[in-house]
Point group: C2
Chain length 343, copies 2
């Protein structure tokens, strides 16, 4: 059943049916009601695919995420889908598995889908292929919004967090507890959260006149296994740190595993402050102090930015060129892991 069947039944033209369906004002109230009645009676459902082809764009938005199973990204996904529901957009879900090739492949396949917009947490900020593809989407009128991570040599809308400030606060928290030997398990240098949190770490040490010890800067690449290795390296130093800043949730897990395997204890052998909460730990005796942020809201906001872009397409050229790069504030949740236990 299609728009023609409805038109015939209602004794109007397909155009009128289309107008009714799309809420066009130029329809007499009587006609509208007549058409609506037929639609109801026949349980007619319009065909979006046909509509999309006709108008040259779909109501679909793609979300590319590097790690589907990371709870941090899931919260973002939740925000995106909830907000998408508000605007009646469908969300295409793609996991890139932190793999640039896979990211390219997904982006390539999306060209054929007449996407309305893209939300992406890119794998790597220096990946020129991804950047090129994203720019092409924008050129074709498909807006792109970044979350959390950034890309170089481009200026897309995005929702980020104040990573430098957040990291600063985390490290400061350790310093204020008397730690002089403060280390960091850092993320990849090719991602905004990676280098910015490192920057915040350095800034904090600098503020408190603590000299930076290169041995205390190790890389965990935001992964469990690598962070475990990084932790091992730190703890096996001749002069190990007393406080460590873990720059993401996976790093936290890696460290905890190290402690567990070696029989070491948090707050006895070492103090930790993390970035991004691990909610399950709050059910245990591991009282981890972390920097956190409104993650779900970051997802909502990304969808919101996309919507603004859609709206500004219709508007005057001036408004079109506004680039919106929002940052959410982080905050510290003190739970005790920043200080040694009183014996």
């Amino acid at each position: 059943m299609n728009i023609y069947d409805i038109a015939k039944e209602a004794g109007v033209s397909p155009t009128t049916v289309s107008r009714v369906l799309n809420g066009n004002k130029n329809v007499k109230d009587a006609t509208r009601k007549k058409v609506l009645k037929v639609i109801e009676g026949k349980k007619y459902v319009p065909n979006m695919i046909a509509r999309n082809l006709s108008v040259g764009e779909s109501q679909n938005v793609a979300f590319l995420v590097p790690d589907i199973e990371n709870p941090f990204f899931n919260k973002i996904l939740h925000g995106i889908t909830d907000q998408a529901l508000v605007y009646n957009y469908n969300v295409f879900m793609f996991g890139t598995d932190e793999n640039s090739d896979r990211e390219h492949r997904v982006l390539e396949s999306l060209k054929a889908e007449m996407m309305k917009g893209l939300i992406i947490i890119p794998v790597c900020e220096t990946d020129t292929i991804t950047v090129g593809k994203l720019k092409n989407f924008e050129k074709q009128g498909v807006p792109v919004v970044l979350i959390d991570r950034d890309v170089k040599n481009a200026n897309f809308d995005g929702v980020f967090s104040e990573d430098i400030e957040g990291a600063y606060e985390a490290v400061e928290c350790l310093i204020q507890e008397g730690h002089k030997k403060v280390a960091i398990i850092s993320g990849p240098e090719t991602s905004r959260p990676g280098h910015d949190r490192l920057k915040g770490y350095k800034k904090a040490l600098d503020s408190y006149k603590i000299e930076i010890n290169p041995d205390y800067i190790v890389y965990g690449n935001f992964r469990e296994e690598e962070s475990y290795q990084a932790m091992k390296k730190l703890m096996e130093l001749k002069n190990p740190p007393t406080g460590i800043f873990l720059t993401n949730n996976m790093a936290i897990l890696g460290c905890l595993r190290y402690l567990k395997e070696t029989g070491k204890k948090l707050c006895r052998d070492v103090c930790l402050v993390g970035f991004d909460d691990i909610i399950e730990l709050t059910y245990t005796d591991i009282h981890l102090t972390v920097v956190t942020r409104p993650v779900y809201e970051m997802g909502c906001e990304a969808m919101e930015l996309l919507e603004r872009r859609f709206e500004s397409k219709q508007e005057a050229t001036a408004e079109k060129m506004v680039i919106r790069r929002n940052s959410v504030k982080t905050w510290l949740v003190k739970r005790g892991s920043e200080k040694f236990a009183k014996p």
Copy 2:
């Protein structure tokens, strides 16, 4: 740029270009190469929306999940998307938030999208509206595959797990450690995992000639807060249980919170066995014994079942009618929480 531009450039008809694009055998090798070269040179990308409209079906599959942030469902999502990539299907993501209205709304909106197939973890097995809508999809040639949860009065393909056996094993594990007073924090009675795990619990007690105590059966509805309340109720009984079977991951969290808040200790005040693992706990001192299952693989398998359905559309009628309801086996991971600590 479209198929006509390519055709003109290559000096062939649009039909031939289409044939090349779709790997039709009836094209001379020379022609094929000629067309392919033009396509490459012009960086032409076919328009899937147009194709979908023409063939009357998209390459899109929808996944409806009740709780986007539950790690169990995320693992499934991961499996689904990975497998979808193999077949080049796109996955539409919808969170229903355990809300039937929302589920209905999503299902309704999907009618317009010419979906190729549906994968759903339904909110409620007795929801006749959802069942009706799902049946309609099948009637329209859109296959439906269930995961984990089932629906009544219908017979869709699905991937389930051996919940009765799994629950049996969990409870048996407690009994074998000497527990006579074994309770269960059960899920909703309107879901297969809910009632089947309860069934397994009863069966185990029965096998070991332990009388069922109605006080020991409480409902947590698979949620943290309700499970917390259920736990409270159990522990405040005049004759509290010594061992409790927690029927999902959220119930585990609820119980842990209760223990933490009341200062009670696992393996000292009560023993627990859970259903579905919480990976973060393995990084802590909570050594929880759980029944688990190949969750990621359940997602892959669901996609695989869908693919079979797609394929069987072309086939003879006999094969068409095979209904595939697969069950994955569960297994017990013993970590110690089933027995009291030696003082």
